[in-house]
Assembly symmetry: C2
Homo-oligomer: 308 residues x 2
């Protein structure tokens, strides 16, 4: 069964045809800023869908993940971050009307979690927490074999959960927001600070996750300590989700996860140090299977729920 | 429909017959320490059940909440806190065998959450977080209209979730455990400290939640500040559950909740200050409806799931 996944970003909209866990065709991305109104942009997306269906006649549904706040059952977008004019847009109805296909609309972070849960690292798990570490920190929660979207469909904001009641403020003046410690820029700023304390001058481009991982792999004590601190704070945030939800797996994605054992070894150590036996004994801590394509895959998987 | 709720405590076992949300009969408590073996104690419980059924012939099921770690589907107790000898006891099977009635066994904190969810403050809510503030801090989570028990059935440990990655250690060496700040003894210790800083000598019996609430109601600035600090820390822990799960209601129980507006006013203020609009606009923050009887009521409600 084939479905279309639409990864709606602030810059471009990536669209692919998915079968199982393979993206069998990519359309040319739609450039978000090229269209002056939501209606024009929806027309452009619908045109891509039409052209993909000319190549693949057995597409059964469409899923779309958007960077913002969605009313999941109706598929109406309340508002999008970084895409002006998208307020109260009934995207699900509009895409259905233009394509005639069953359509699902979800938050993009949920779509990535769905990719891991339906097709990736958390496949077959009834209880999972997925976290993406990038410029921002986002996530998705699966409990009792279902996505937890919550009362207003905004659940899963792991980056805003707190690891310090008196700590750094997050985007909503929320003290101790995980994102205020673990976002790529904050990680870099902490590393610059730690290097400076040791008399070493670094700038932000020296302190990307990739470069800090290479330094740590090369045995740099300062870089190793930066990763340990990062892992301890991440472990505290994830341990809270474990105490609360007792997941069988924690899935970590985003560029930082590419650090491999440089991240996962201290993370596992700190998580085990902070949890009691029933919470940690069977806990899997895994790297996300999908990276850039998680959005398309998750949306395509979500779409299939509309026809099953 | 009538069912029996059994609130299994380390000191005594309280048993009642429940119809709707009323306890229509209480049995004499069974004293836990009076029975040398689990088998003898189970016999004593079964005898009480038999005698209650002689009075009420239409009892359809039994629910029992225990202070420890239970394998929920099988009803086998892995171990109990403060009750020696209770390791790997198949309590569900044993009670079923002795009584012939459908039986459910759950953790006592879950039972209290079930009471609020099925019968009390969170009745009709599909997404709820229940917290009990006492000597310890416990809780239960409802998402998508179901209890979240997690992969090993130990979810809902709100007291162990962290509000400080570098803070006070909880019972499992977990930094920043909510319980290490908000347990009754910790609240008292903080108050003693704050009074001492103002040159006022207080001891632990002066600083119970009841006495601190009276002092605050009387306008004592120090007591008001103690409650504000307590509320700010509690808000941080609860805000994390909101970001993660987007519940429609937070239910607060335990003796501290009896402080009423002295607790709930600053708690609401701090929660609103830490959350963004979709998370807080429809959020209810309510006192638990049940106190000492929550265990019996929750267990009796849980029991009915076994026959429905």
């Amino acid at each position: 069964m084939k479905s279309i996944g639409i990864d709606f970003g602030g810059t471009s909209i990536k669209i692919g045809v998915v079968e199982g866990k393979e993206i069998i065709a990519f359309a040319d991305p739609v450039i978000t800023g090229d269209y002056p109104t939501p209606a024009a942009l929806i027309d452009a997306i619908a045109d891509v869908v039409t052209s993909l269906r000319e190549q693949y006649s057995d597409i059964v549904a469409i899923g779309c993940g958007v960077p913002g706040f969605v009313d999941f059952p109706t598929g109406t977008i309340h508002n999008l971050t970084n895409v002006p004019g998208w307020k109260n847009i009934p995207l699900k109805d509009e895409l259905k009307k233009r394509t005639g296909l069953p359509t699902a609309i979800d938050n993009d972070a949920n779509a990535m979690a769905i990719a891991e849960w339906k097709l990736g690292a958390a496949k077959g798990c009834d209880h999972a927490v997925c976290l993406t570490l990038g410029t921002g920190v986002g996530g998705g929660v699966i409990a009792n074999g279902a996505m937890v979207r919550g009362a207003q469909f905004v659940a899963g904001e792991l980056g805003q959960t707190s690891i310090s009641y008196s700590g750094r403020l997050g985007a909503y003046n929320n003290p101790g927001a995980l994102e205020a410690y673990l976002g790529n820029n904050e990680f870099a700023a902490d590393a610059i600070h730690d290097y400076a304390a040791a008399g070493v001058d670094k700038n932000i481009s020296d302190c990307t996750p990739v470069k800090l991982a290479k330094l740590a792999e090369g045995g740099c004590e300062i870089a190793l300590k930066c990763w340990d601190k990062f892992a301890q704070r991440l472990a505290t945030g994830l341990a809270s989700t474990c105490w609360l939800l007792n997941p069988e797996i924690l899935v970590i994605g985003g560029g930082v996860a590419n650090a491999g054992p440089i991240l996962f070894d201290p993370l596992t150590k700190h998580l085990h140090a902070q949890l009691s036996a029933p919470f940690k004994d069977h806990l899997k801590i895994e790297k996300a299977h999908f990276s850039n394509n998680a959005g398309i895959l998750g949306c395509a998987a979500l779409a299939l729920d509309e026809v099953e």
